[in-house]
Symmetry: C3
Subunit: 371 residues, 3 copies
């Protein structure tokens, strides 16, 4: 049985915001890149984005370009976007569909959809050259509930080490089957941790999100994951059927939900780059990619029940527009915080009793960074 | 009695321009930020810019955003633009008018116009939290002749230590009463010291300012402050009534001036960021804000007698356009100098006998930097 | 007698591409600037660009602005674009024509077309000042076959040390007499060495240059300079008269060529910044200026026989457009390589037997860098 706590119930007296350097220092950013983003599993997207053999998208993250490709037998592959000859970037587009192979535009080295080097002009005359030694460089990959997770480490930690709290948790929402209806990309002038701290509290909802606060009271709901890599819980929907501009549900329910889950939105932040928001009629997820200490690239994608598409009443824009508005309200206050913490007078200050999850996020983050 | 010297009379044989590093080195820029701009009083503007309770403007300088606010009882306040909760920038606009209070857009912490924290939702439940401990962070401030001076040090040096030569000096010009008619902001690709050195000599006037040189001979006048933080003197107006495009006076005299002061413009550079130029019919002042070793932001504002506004013959644009033209001529040669001193062959070279004030500026600057 | 080798004949087993740091590291770039570009002779252009007394162009390279000026008696001068007074950049334009002298826009110091300081207002009153001590700062210069070569070192190495292989080599092509018909400037997001490696192999021609590969077989020709500062040889023209969009010759032959040279294009890379491509009817040369580890500025200029201009059949655009297309194909693959070598998985990989010259370039480069 899951226990939910009001956020105030897990309040730790004396919790304070992080010092300014954590949001601005290039040295701390370098440490984060090494200790967090080069070691942890991070979300690259949902496999439904590449349904057919040859479909691909590329991901720019942590100094790398990574190709996510649907190969034969529906298998998903993740490779560094780097030719084994001169290192040339193989593919410039952010998404598309390959034919039967992937060819480098420079010297025409050619790879099969399973990564094998199958063409390398004239290299048969190079002493000791064996094509089998030069496949596309793979990235460690795991699928969880349809989401693609990657790990840049040469010896990745077990996926289950961090994701244990989530395994099986969302079975009712049909996550592996859902299909995308839209995608937004935001360039935000704020440190990635501001995004996580912001997502994890609704203390800011009344001033920053008047529309959201009206249909989802900021003091409603409760949290069940209150320490560790995954943090979150639910909030209630009141006076509306879902979080949409109209207040109406915008699609079929995503799954065979329990009665109470038709009035709830579940929000979980998954360290270090994913925000997962489960609504009755759609699932939204963000990925947060640090670009520099003061800049982040954020994607937001919306998934729906596959049978919702084309049905009467299917109006995904109603939910996506609601969150595009709400996202931009969040990015603005995060950007204002980024500007302020550079000041010589900024000091760590008390978190309110409604900011227990940001405080828990900071604790977990500091533990990982110190490791 | 004030003694004025021709610039050549204070010529020091062997004076040379500064080495190139002083205009380009990030290390020297960091030392300047610490030893000069974080310690010295600098001009933020004129209080007449915010006449009514609630009026404010913000200032971006030396890594800070500072709010200048007219509070109750006509009092001028200076605060860091930083919320005491999460450090959020409180105000994004560069100028405007607050109502009765200042509210943070993130979590609605609210401050009175005297800086007291008067609202902090839910914080009454935070252990030991007392609103009295979290006022807006103040910046040290002094008013001099209507000008707002700020100091970022935690224990500022006495204002009088640097401003003694100026106290009472400009009583005839009615500086505290004057009112603004215009403001220009320039982004200049030159080190801030080039701006000061340029302002302090008219050796460049014949080639660079043909219009100015025609109505204010470059060898006229004399200097009375020739060493120290304030440098300058006067030049004559000839064949015109003032420095305007038309040559006519563009407003009432700013004060009850001595007869000779109707034919003079007084120019003083006030270390480290102000240039004050007193004409018979208007007062112009520049503030120079270093942005990086090779970039400065310069404001130029023009003040007039309060009774000049609306009178027949009031034509402030005539004076402002003259100086906008002249300013841009100066910024161009400063930018060309900036480009040149990066060269491996640039070496300190002899100042001319008409560049005694730039040489004095350099000496004072080096003394402060070495301190 | 010149011996030409097929590129495969000089293949060294085990040759690999450079490590990624050589293309991205600011430290290596700084070492290159000091050990290569501040010591080696580099090409600034062709003297035919400034035919008349007073003609000039300026060159931005390696942190300097350099003025190339045609003086009296047809003499070519090279000076740093730096006034001897305040270091001011003398000339902002990239090309033009001076009158009888060069005047600084700041304080009107004036230089003759041979570099002597001939005017310095008021400096006669500066103690010990002698105009003879303040000429324009010269840059070491040599003319070779009409090309202007510069050296930024205070004690330049002998020009012949590096250029011995070229002296007299191209007499048939009339290089000193040729005249320009066009000039292109490219800003390329790739390290300068990618440009050289690319120029030195035609392994990439079939995939990257379908038009070129069609009229100049990628396995044709041979190389005669296969180690050292100058690398190259020739390739055949087949099924066309020259490398033009139409396939027709676009001008008179540039010289009294040997019969076989009417069917050949000679390609030589000249360390560290010049690519020289001799066609029967025109000569093309590139200069490559490193701007940062990941950015280069490239000029491409086309020279023709002076008697070709105005003749029937003179169609220089036909050749220039062919190479503008081909240049852009090259810059694209160089930029893709630049992007790829930043990856943590990029490793030096085997060069093909058709990439012996890039391998020789790398060896020579490493030798110079290590010196």
């Amino acid at each position: 049985m899951v226990t939910f706590y009001k956020t105030e119930q897990t309040y730790q007296s004396g919790s304070k915001t992080l010092a300014g350097d954590y949001y601005t220092s290039p040295d701390i950013f370098a440490a984060e890149t090494e200790r967090i983003f080069s070691r942890r599993w991070f979300c690259a997207g949902h496999a439904s984005r590449i349904p057919r053999a040859g479909d691909y998208f590329s991901l720019e993250a942590f100094g790398e370009s990574i190709l996510l490709v649907r190969g034969e037998q529906a298998k998903v592959h993740a490779w560094y976007n780097v030719c084994r000859h001169r290192g040339t970037r193989l593919c410039e587009q952010s998404e598309g569909r390959f034919g039967k192979s992937i060819q480098c535009p420079y010297h025409a080295w050619t790879y099969a959809l399973d990564g094998r080097l199958i063409g390398a002009p004239l290299m048969k005359d190079a002493d000791g050259f064996d094509k089998a030694d030069f496949p596309l460089p793979p990235v460690s990959m795991r699928l969880w509930e349809g989401f693609i997770f990657l790990n840049l480490s040469e010896s990745p930690r077990p996926f289950e080490a961090d994701f244990a709290p989530l395994l099986g948790k969302f079975a009712d929402w049909n996550l592996p089957l859902l299909e995308p209806a839209g995608r937004a990309v935001y360039d935000v002038a704020a440190n990635w941790k501001f995004i996580f701290e912001n997502y994890n509290e609704c203390y800011h909802c009344p001033p920053a999100h008047p529309q959201l606060a009206k249909i989802s009271p900021s003091n409603s709901g409760g949290n069940d994951l209150v320490e560790g890599p995954v943090l979150g819980g639910f909030m209630l929907i009141e006076g509306a059927d879902s979080l949409t501009l109209s207040g109406n549900a915008c699609a079929l329910p995503v799954g065979d939900l329990k009665p109470e889950d038709h009035r709830r939105v579940y929000y979980y932040s998954i360290f270090p780059n994913m925000l997962l928001s489960l609504h009755p009629d759609y699932v939204m997820f963000h990925t947060v990619t640090p670009v520099s200490p003061e800049r982040s690239r954020i994607t937001c994608e919306w998934l729906f029940h596959p049978q919702a598409f084309g049905r009467p009443g299917f109006n995904p824009q109603d939910g996506m527009d609601f969150w595009d508005m709400t996202n931009k309200q969040d990015w603005r206050v995060c950007e204002l915080s980024q500007k302020g913490v550079r000041s010589r007078v900024y000091r760590p200050s008390p978190y309110s009793p409604r900011e227990t999850l940001p405080a828990a996020f900071d604790r977990y983050y500091l533990g990982v960074l110190g490791a």
